[in-house]
Every structure is written in C-alpha cells, then in structure tokens.
Amino acid sequence: MKIVVPLNQVPDLVEDLEIADSGKELDFEVLKMKLNEFDDHALEEALQIKESSGGEVTAVAVDGPEVDKVLFTALAKGADKAVKITGANPHADNHTQARVLAGAVGQLGADLVLVGVQSAGDRDGQLGPLLAAYLNWPGVCVVSGLKPEGGKLTFHKEYAGGLMAEFEVDLPAVMGVQAARATPRYAPVSKVRQVQTTAKIESLAAAAAGDVPAASVEKMEPPVKGAGAKMLKSAADIIQVLKEKGVV
C-alpha cells in the first residue's frame, strides 16, 4: 500500500496575523508558519496504517520556505520518502494546489492519499475533494478510523452531534482526515538533525496546473468586531459575574 501525504504550512493562529500591502492576502514574509495540524493528523494516520498493516508513506510538499524542515520532520517521524515539488507556488489557491498534486500523485503512484480535512486559509474549497475530483478517484471529507483491507478501505465519516457513518471504498481514493487514531507523534530536534544528515529529499518538477476556475480576491480584513466581551480585570470579577447569574 502506497500512501501519499501532502503537507502544507499555515500561519500559527495564536500569533497576530499581518495583512500584506496588497490588502488581499496575509503577509507571509513576517508570519510564523507551522504544519497544518490536520495534515499532521493525516501523516500520523498514514504512519499508523503502515505500522499496523504495512505500506510505504511518502510525504510531499511544494517547495517554499522551511519546506526541508517539514519534510525532514516527516522522515524523522517515520515516513519512507520525502518529495519536494519544485516550480509551484506554496501559497497558491487550493484548485491550483490540487492540480499540481494530482500531477505529482500520478507520477509517484499511490493507493491512498491522506490530506488534512481543511486548512486555515481554505478560501476556494478544500484540497482533498478537489484533488480527488482531478484524479477522478473517490474522495471523502471529514474522516477518521481508517482500516485498510486488501484493495479496500473502511472508514468513518463524521457529521454533526457525534453522528458518524461507516463507508467502504475501493482504492485508490483520497481521504480528508479529521483526526488520526492517536495524537500526532513528535519528532525530537535531535532526530530531525540526524535524519537531515542521512536521508535525502527527492525533487519532482511541478506539472503545469493548467486551467483552474479562479475566484479573484477583492479584499482581506479582520472581521468587524461587535461590541465584544466586556473585559474583566481579575478572577474576582468572574466570581462577581457568577454571583449575578446566580451560579454561586
């Protein structure tokens, strides 16, 4: 079983987000980026599948700042191969990314592609189902509990209120992973450094994205805040509110 996991970096949302001078996108130059947490879950699930039922895990990422760190970290966590896609824009919209990835998956070959269910900047849709459509494979969003068997995969698709459905799919397929069966593993810096000296990242030239439907950005702005919260100064103020509400 060959599993491909595309990895994307997203801004760390705990930090302040700066808008670029264009007023249309974030200022990626100054932002602190980190691996999309849902991609981390997709990678973890791929590694879990490999460890429980065998297989080969390939991490892929579009060339850009810190991409080597992301890919070496994936190798340190247990991925078998790391592939850097060169000549594409890591901040491109998801339709373009999906086209580029469809080209890469075609060249690398895969039985299963695991993508994070969503990414913080998903303006034009989600990568997983777009990629599935471009590959003409079945694609399902918001999944967990993946169990491969033979050329098939059973999985859960999550709805609202804790309701789920179980499906079975003939591979190859693309899954938008919500949560891995275990907390994504951590690769210590020392391990990443060691991998950096021994392992190699392969390069793959991006296929032309071709025509993708484009919705142009008009503007980006922080949401207009309503009245917002009344800011309190201390824990005692919280107690006061709880008293007013009759809780204590």
């Binding site: 777009l130 459509a133 969003c141 509110v241």
Partner: protein, 314 residues
C-alpha cells in the same frame, strides 16, 4: 438571469439546520442575481420536501436515503448540467464540502468556501469567506458565470428559512449509483455519563489546558460551581475526555446559562456549538483570540492563575 440552487442537506432522516440557513442566504442572493431559489433534494422524503416552502421550487433526485458522497455528487452534477444555475450553494459541512468541491472541480466552476455572506452586484457574485480560525474575512469575486459557494453555519438565523408547505416539485431523475464507494451504516453518538446539553453551567477546557492531568483543575472548579466539564475537539482527539463532552460542529450544541471557556481560541467550529449560551465568559492568554468576540465577559490571563484565584475566592 441566474438561479440559486440550494443543496438541501439531510441527516438521520431529517433536514439539517443548515438547509434552512442556506434558504435565507439564497433568498437574499436570488434578488441580486434576478432569479429564483431552487432546493435540490437528493435522496430525501416527501416529509422533507414539505418543509422546503422557503424555496420557489424543489428538484427531487432519487437516491439512497443515506448520504453517499459519490452518488449524491453525481446526482447533483446531472441537475446542474441540465439546468445551469448561476449559483450552487451547499453547507460548509461534512456533506457539503464533498459535494461543492467535486462540482467545482468537475464543472470548472469557481468556488468560495465557508461564506458568511453571498451577494450580487453588477452581475457578479461576491462572497465573504471566514478564514484563519475566524481571524480574517476574505471577499472573493466569483464573476458572472456559474459558481459554487459553501455557507458557514450560524451566519444567519435558520428561522427565516423555515416555511412549511412543499414548493412546486420537479423530477431530477435518479442519481447514478456509486460503484466504488459503499455506505455501510450510521453510527449513533455514544451516550456519555453526563449530558452536557442539559447543564446550567459548563466549564469548558481547550488546548490551553496543556496536558491531561491538568484537566483536574477544571474538574475541581466545576465541582465548586455545580457545573459539568466540557471540552473543545483537540481535547477529545487526544483521548483526554470522552466524545460525549465535545462542544462544536462535530460535537454537541449546548446552551447553558453560563459557559466558562478556559484556553479555547474560539475557532468557528467550536463557536458553532456554544455561541447561543446565555452568558459566555472566556479566559485566554491571547487578547486577540476570536472567543472574545462572542463572549460576554473576557479575561486576558493564564487560566491556571485565574482558576486558582477563583478557587481561593469561592
């Protein structure tokens, strides 16, 4: 003249709340594009159609009652290919994400996701997407041709979209059965030891709690307040608390008298589950955390210090 097609969503035999919210969005938009509102009901029942009175028309597509991404996507595509609506609207939900993205890619229709607002001006459709965990709104121009939007939950009240009485119905044919993807069964949510949807007071913990052992801090506070402990999704995914305690989009919707959020950022998926609580009090170290926009009271600070001081005072 553009029509707006709403992909009516149903779950567990019932129309989803999102369906009615979409009908509200669609009504406003249809005025702008000069067309009408059509609900596309795939695999639905007569009882569901009878609740879609806020639409001008319903197109019924025959399919298995239980959602199958491939079958439903093919059924929707056939309707869109035949009718060529200007805007196809789906929920930014588990089902809607599958269907909208597949349609956008296959039919080369531009798409905007997680929209708070969709409007038309000068013949073009514009949509405001809620991105970056609710910290940025981005407006897209989807042009004057066919396009796809997914709507974020809770941007409008569903009430305006609830109107009984089936609109005129049209046969949308039978969705081609999926060949590679098979629905097996629905798995109903597990019942927990505590029903967080019926509590007056909830102490909710998020990733700011840091580690499993420290949930005890919240449990102690909850005991003092005769409250139950709830949590954001990452706490459940980490296996620190059972799924029955999860608040949000894929968890439970709660409406307690008081919701005390400790170390929860306020991602849209979390807010979806608790923003109608009577009183929301949030404690967070990040003064810009989106939770402070929905909270009634906020305190910028370390949750451990705050809880400790509260325990001393109580």
């Amino acid at each position: 003249m553009g029509d707006v097609y709403v992909v009516a969503e149903h779950l567990n035999g019932e129309l989803a709340e999102m369906t009615f919210e979409m009908l509200v969005h669609a009504r406003g938009l249809a005025g702008g594009v000069g067309g009408s509102v059509t609900a596309v009901l795939i695999g639905g029942t007569d009882a569901m159609a009878a609740k879609l009175g806020a639409a001008d028309k319903v197109i019924r597509v025959a399919a298995e009652a239980d959602y199958n991404p491939d079958t439903y996507a093919a059924g929707l595509k056939a309707v869109v290919d035949a009718k060529k609506p200007q805007v196809v609207m789906a929920g930014n939900t588990s089902q809607g994400m599958d269907l909208a993205n597949a349609l956008s890619a296959r039919n080369n229709m531009p798409m905007a996701a997680a929209c708070l607002k969709v409007s038309a001006a000068g013949g073009n459709v514009h949509a405001v997407s809620q991105l970056y965990g609710g910290k940025m709104n981005v407006t897209s121009n989807l042009g004057s041709g066919p396009c796809v939007v997914t709507v974020a939950a809770g941007a409008v009240s569903a009430d305006g979209g609830r109107k009984d009485g089936a609109p005129a119905s049209e046969d949308g044919g039978k969705a081609p059965a999926a060949t590679k993807l098979r629905f097996k069964k629905l798995i109903q949510p597990e019942k927990g030891d505590v029903d967080i949807t019926t509590q007056d007071v909830l102490v909710a913990v998020g990733r700011g709690i840091g580690k499993k052992e420290d949930i005890e801090v919240a449990v102690e506070l909850a005991d003092k307040l005769k409250a139950a402990v709830a949590a954001s999704r990452p706490i459940i995914d980490a296996g620190w608390m059972p799924k029955s305690r999860q608040v949000g989009k894929s968890g439970l919707k709660v409406k307690p008298k008081v919701y005390l959020a400790l170390g929860i950022s306020g991602a849209p998926e979390h807010l979806e589950g608790m923003k109608n609580s009577a009183t929301i009090i949030a404690v967070n170290t990040d003064k810009n955390a989106p939770i402070f926009d929905v909270a009634h009271y906020g305190l910028v600070g370390d949750l451990f210090d705050v809880v400790e001081e509260m325990m001393d005072e109580l």
